[in-house]
Symmetry: C2
Subunit: 253 residues, 2 copies
C-alpha cells in the first residue's frame, strides 16, 4: 500500500512543482512505481512533463466530480514507472464549487481511495494557497513534504504552514505528519541561503533531508523542453541533487 | 484622484510583493504619495517593511468586515510618502467567508471608496491565486500591473491570467485594463531569461516597461532587514533598476 504525500507550501514559487516532477522522476528511475497528482489549476506539473493540457480527455477535475475514476484519468509519462493524474483549467472552478458540497474536505481522499495500492508512492502537487484544494490534499495524505526555498519570505510563512497542518491533523486527518522538509534553490554564494538553511534545521531538526537542491538554471530550463531534469541533463548539479534526494527519500519514506 | 492598480499574477513567487514594496518606495522617494494594500494572508508586504503583524491594532480584514474604515487601518512606513494598509492571518478566513456574502466581488472596492483621493497611487499586492481575494482586487482597480518572472512556468500562466482579467472586465469592471508588464528576476547569464523577455515583448508589445528588474541577492536580503531595497542598498543593481522603473511608471501611469 503506497503512501500518499502532499507537496505543500502556501508560499508561492518555492519549488513545489519542480520538486514533485524531479524527485518523483528520480524515484521512478530507481525502479519504484510513482503516481503524481497535479492539484493546481496552473497545471505546471502536467505541461512541464510534455502533456498537452488542452487535448486531455480526462483530468483530476473529472475525478473530483465523480464522472470518472482515478484509474480512468491516470496516464503514463515519458519516464518509465512514473504516472500522472493531470490537471487543466477546469480545476480553477473546483475551489468555489467545493464550498457548498457536503463533506467538502474529503472529496479528494474519497476520489483517491484504493489508488495507493497500485503504486509505491503517490505525491500531490499543491497550489500556493490555504484554500479548499490544499485542505483536500492534506486530508487525503499520510504525510506532508514541505519544500522551502532558501530565501527570507519562504521562512516567514513556515509557522502559518505548521498551524494549518496541525489544524487538519486535529479535526480532519489524525495520521497526518510532517514527513520531511526539502531545501530548494540554495545558492552557496549568498549568506542569505546559508542563514536560511541554519534556521530551517534549527526549526525542523532531523526532518530536513540532507540532500539540498541548489539553484541551477538547467532545472529551470527542463520544463520548457517537457522533461524532467534527469532527461534534460543528467550530469547537471540539479539532476545529481535530485537523484541523491531520491535515494534518501526511498530510505526514509 | 489617484489611480488604483492591482499587482497581480496567479503564478507564485514571481515578485509581486517585492515589486509592490520597491516600486512604490521608489515612487514615494520621488515625492508622490503612495498607498500600498497588503491583500495576501501571507502578509509578506507588511512584514517586509518592518511592521509587526502580531501587534497590529487594525488590518485590511477589519476594513473588509466594515468594522473600521480604510483610514483607520492605514499606517505610515519608514519611507516618507509611503503608507500601508497592512494584513495579517485574519485575512486567511476572508476567502471562505466571502463566498456566501451578497455582492461579494465588490467588497474591497466599496471598502476603498474615496481612499484614492488622498494618494497619487494605490497599489494592491495580490495573493497567488484566482480566488475571491484576487477577483476583489481586480474589481477594485483601474488597471492591472503584471510582474512576470523571466522563467518558463511564469510564461505558461499568462494566457490564464489574461482570461481572468478579461472575464472581470466583461462582467464586473468595464474600465479594467492591463496597465503594464514588469519583467523580474532577469538573469543575463542565461538564455532562458533572454528568450522569455523576447516572448513577453512579442505578446504584450509596448505595455512592457523598458526597465527590467535583474535577479539581485540584495533585493532578496532587504526584507529580512525590514527595508525597501533603496533603504538597504541604494547602490545595488536592484535599487537602481527599481528607481528607473519608478521614473518610468510616473511617466506612463
Ligand atoms: N533548483 C532550482 N534551480 C533553478 N530554478 C528553479 C529551481 N527549482 C525551481 N526553479 C524555478 O523556480 C520557479 C518556481 O518553481 P516552481 O514553479 O516549481 O514553484 P512552485 O512552488 O510550484 O510555484 P507555485 O507556488 O506557483 O505553484 C520556476 O520557474 C522553476 O523553474
Ligand atoms: N529581483 C530579485 N532578485 C532576487 N530575488 C528576488 C527578486 N525579486 C524577488 N526576489 C525573491 O524571490 C522570492 C519571490 O518573490 P516575492 O515573494 O516578491 O514573489 P510573490 O509573487 O509576491 O510571491 P507569492 O506568489 O508567494 O505572493 C522572494 O524570496 C524574493 O525575495
Ligand atoms: Mg507549482
Ligand atoms: Mg507575495
Amino acid at each position: 500500500m503506497g503512501k500518499i504525500y502532499a507537496m505543500f507550501n502556501q508560499k508561492g514559487g518555492v519549488g513545489k512543482t519542480t520538486t514533485t516532477a524531479n524527485l518523483c522522476a528520480g524515484i521512478a528511475s530507481l525502479g519504484k512505481r510513482v503516481l503524481i497528482v497535479d492539484f493546481d489549476a496552473q497545471s505546471n506539473l502536467t505541461s512541464g512533463l510534455n502533456i498537452n493540457r488542452k487535448t486531455l480527455k480526462a483530468s483530476i477535475y473529472n475525478v473530483l466530480t465523480g464522472e470518472l475514476s482515478a484509474e480512468q484519468a491516470i496516464i503514463p509519462t515519458s519516464t518509465e514507472n512514473l504516472f500522472i493524474l493531470p490537471s487543466n483549467i477546469d480545476l480553477a472552478g473546483a475551489e468555489v464549487e467545493m464550498a457548498n458540497v457536503p463533506r467538502r474536505e474529503t472529496i479528494l481522499k474519497r476520489a483517491l481511495t484504493g489508488v495507493g495500492d497500485n503504486y509505491d508512492y503517490v505525491v500531490i502537487d499543491c497550489p500556493p494557497s490555504l484554500g479548499m484544494l490544499s485542505i483536500n490534499s492534506l486530508v487525503a495524505s499520510d504525510g506532508v513534504i514541505i519544500p522551502i526555498q532558501c530565501e527570507y519570505y519562504a521562512l516567514e510563512g513556515v509557522s502559518q504552514l505548521i498551524n494549518t497542518v496541525n489544524l487538519v491533523k486535529k479535526s480532519l486527518n489524525a495520521q497526518l505528519e510532517v514527513k520531511g522538509v526539502i531545501l530548494t534553490m540554495f545558492d552557496k554564494r549568498t549568506n542569505l541561503s546559508t542563514q536560511i538553511v541554519q534556521e530551517v534545521r534549527n526549526y525542523f531538526g532531523s526532518k530536513v533531508f540532507n540532500s539540498i537542491i541548489p539553484r541551477n538554471v538547467r532545472v529551470a530550463e527542463a520544463p520548457s523542453h517537457g522533461m524532467s531534469i534527469m532527461q534534460y541533463d543528467i550530469n547537471s548539479k540539479g539532476a545529481r541533487a535530485y537523484m541523491a534526494l531520491a535515494h534518501e527519500f526511498i530510505e526514509k519514506c
